[in-house]
């Protein structure tokens, strides 16, 4: 009974959000020649946030500390059946995945894209230590742990990684569900876009791969299985890519770009 009173309204809220999102259903937009599909899952995030922003007392009560914390703490558990569902997507495609296994391994190098694209921009904008935290990766758990261990989260580097973490947590699924169709529209093969979906969190992967599958329904099985397989691989080796490739690359680019910008060599901040 105690639990029902505490969490019942939360579950009713989720049911309402689900219903409205499903009634809106998948919407396909066209930007120029590029098709972008927005799925109910994206509407669910947006509605959950919009309802919270309604300035009314009952809403503040509905989104009380206890319930919001519950949603955060148990989101992983709520997600587990989805992760189990991926097993049935990957299994029938396992031979196809193994036959291009080396592609899955090599494409993990794409994780360095955060540094190659993000670091020059950050340095040009005048960021220095913050640039290190904010461009090491997508600010997921691995980077967060590394930066907080090396620099603490109260440092400028920590602020950088927390910023990216926060943006990814709030907008990640929306960003990924736009990026995947965008890259498909740019002319990339759906397989390449699908296997690249597994680079961030599992909800980002789900958002990217399902909006891609909605656009290429004929190959939706391949898309979902490729995305899930690459997510699994990233969970295994993502941290090692960061340690052994991302950090040295970042150090190299940081010292060279800052010496061009500041006319003097800046030292890549190591912990003291």
């Amino acid at each position: 009974m105690k639990y029902l009173k505490a969490y019942g309204p939360l579950i009713i809220l989720v049911l309402l959000i689900d219903t409205v999102s499903e009634m809106i259903s998948t919407q396909v937009f066209k930007i120029g020649k590029i098709e972008i599909s927005i799925l109910p899952l994206v509407f669910a995030v947006i509605i959950a946030i919009l309802v919270y922003l309604i300035p009314a007392k009952p809403i503040k009560k509905l989104y009380n500390d206890k319930r919001v914390k519950f949603a955060g703490k148990y989101m992983i558990l709520i997600m587990l059946p989805l992760m189990a569902r991926y097993g049935a997507n990957v299994a029938p495609k396992i031979n196809e995945i193994i036959s291009v296994g080396w592609v899955f391994l090599v494409h993990e190098l794409g994780n360095l894209g955060t540094i190659i694209f993000g670091l020059p921009v950050a340095l040009l904008l005048g960021l220095r230590e913050e640039a290190i935290g904010s461009t090491l990766g997508l600010g997921r758990e691995g980077e967060l742990a590394y930066i907080s261990e090396k620099y603490t989260l109260n440092s400028p580097e920590g602020r950088g990684v927390l910023g990216i973490y926060l943006i990814g947590t709030i907008f990640g699924s929306i960003i990924f569900s736009i990026l995947a169709p965008l890259l498909l529209g740019m002319g990339f093969n759906y397989k390449a876009v699908a296997m690249s979906a597994g680079v961030g969190s599992s909800s980002m992967m789900t958002a990217a791969s399902s909006s891609l599958a909605a656009l290429v329904p004929k190959h939706s099985d391949t898309i979902l299985s490729f995305a899930a397989a690459s997510q699994l691989l990233t969970s295994f080796i993502g941290t090692y890519i960061m340690y052994f490739l991302a950090v040295p690359l970042q150090r190299f680019m940081y010292t060279h770009i800052t010496s061009l910008l500041d006319k003097k060599k800046e030292v890549y901040p190591d912990h003291d």
Binding site: I11, V14, D18, E22, M23, S25, L39, P40, L41, I46, A48, I49, Y63, V68, A71, G72, M75, L77, I78, M79, L80, P81, L82, M83, A84, R85, Y86, G87, A88, V90, V100, V103, H107, L109, G110, N111, G113, T114, I116, F117, A131, G163, L166, I167, T169, S173, F176, L179, L183, N189, A192, V199, G200, S203, T206, A207, Q231, L232, S235, F236
Partner: protein
Amino acid sequence: MTKENNLYELFKDAVILLLSVSLVLFVQWVKLIRNPKSTPITTDTLIGLGMLWLFSLLGIVISMLMKKVPWKIIQGFPILGWVSIVSLIFCLLSSYCVRVINAVDFLSLTTSVLAFAGISVTHRLKELTKISWKILIVAIFVFFGMYFMDTLISQIALNLS
């Protein structure tokens, strides 16, 4: 004591997983109302949901056990990954598993997860205003750069193979 605590935690997890699969069923039902041509709810769907529940629970148990293994790579492997692996193994061994799980509509699994995600971030929205606009711009390049480069490398490698 810890053993009892673990069992209690596991029971709590099992209840929340039950909530999760019930939400999936609800969403699949709403989907059917909206579009009668979407995946129907059959006996297979119900068995499939039960199976997803079971695999999730097994994944939790394995993740608990693996925390005791001395290798860091295994210890740090996320629970989400274990569940996928458990399910993958069962699905490789039996095509029955694949059949019943496929009777569960894929997208129906995603909506509630993201609803929870949306609710869980609401109290952190204020922190967004503290992030400098520079980091916001960097974020755009970081997200795009990651996905773009990953896709580019995959495309080149796929063309080579």
